[in-house]
Symmetry: C2
DNA sequence: AACCTATAAATTGCGTACAATTTAATTATA
DNA sequence: TATAATTAAATTGTACGCAATTTATAGGTT
């Protein structure tokens, strides 16, 4: 019986592992900047959608973020406690919960603008590499 | 006062977000295959290191995986319960805990070889793109 | 109208992640 | 050599992620 080839089981030959490690490393780098505006990374990306969309359902928000209600419900309750969003059932269809940004939530945007500014300093890849990385990642996320 | 440019706060202009979303999507794709060998993704990458290294400290394992004892201690206790590894303090330095693969852990490797085989079918990017992705991610992880 | 099906959130339960602290062991230093 | 500083794991507490289930509402069928 021939020797099996187990190279595919080496960590260094995985594509998912550096993806997973890298995303956690960058989120770790965000932390000190996000602490200044009292948001976690997941809360931050949720607020990014709110700054653009102003109001939308939990389902729609989840489609943007690739997250489900199991993650979003407690997260949105925290954003509501902070006064950044409101949560109300839709009058037309009571199954839908509409998340709406508040004036406080809007105001936070002016502070948050400093986060990407500071993160840009941390970049360890060239602009063209960031562009290529972006293209490949979205090809994996949204294959058309 | 001039209009501020908030483009940097758009989700579509982030590099971290697709990284984060992509890593979770791929881990989700692993799940049915990992269920067959009763491992979570984090347990799977920990076992990958064990299959290569046979025995090492929690600290060394954490350096491979970019994880700390807060994550690894409970995870390794679960792998120990499954009989895949043993956990013992080092005789030379009692601060170190040596994680060792068991014969059962070694045996699991023969089953696990089917995981990357099946995952390869799911790839939605070209081989050269995977190579380039790999290079950029490791440049971010280990800037030399 | 009564019933069936589908859908959206919320809930439950498990397993990470990770910062911060604690405990125990080792090493360095006065 | 007593003590201070360092190190490795474990522990604690908070916040995700996500599968599976439940609850509530809406739409379709007879």
């Amino acid at each position: 019986m021939a020797q099996e080839n187990y190279d595919a089981l080496k960590l260094e030959n995985q594509i998912c592992f550096p993806l997973y490690a890298c995303s956690r490393e960058i989120i770790r780098q965000y932390k000190p900047f996000l602490d200044e505006i009292d948001l976690t990374y997941t809360q931050y990306i949720a607020m990014m959608v709110m700054w653009e969309r102003k109001a939308l359902t939990v389902k729609a928000l989840g489609e943007y973020l690739y997250l489900d209600s199991g993650t979003l419900t407690p997260l949105l309750k925290k954003l509501e406690q902070k006064g950044l969003v409101t949560r109300n059932r839709s009058r037309e269809d009571e199954r839908n919960l509409i998340v709406r940004i508040t004036p406080e939530g809007e105001a936070l945007k002016a502070q948050a603008i400093h986060v990407p500014e500071k993160m840009a300093q941390c970049a360890r890849i060239e602009p063209w590499e960031a562009t290529e990385l972006y293209r490949i990642l979205y090809k994996m996320l949204k294959p058309d």
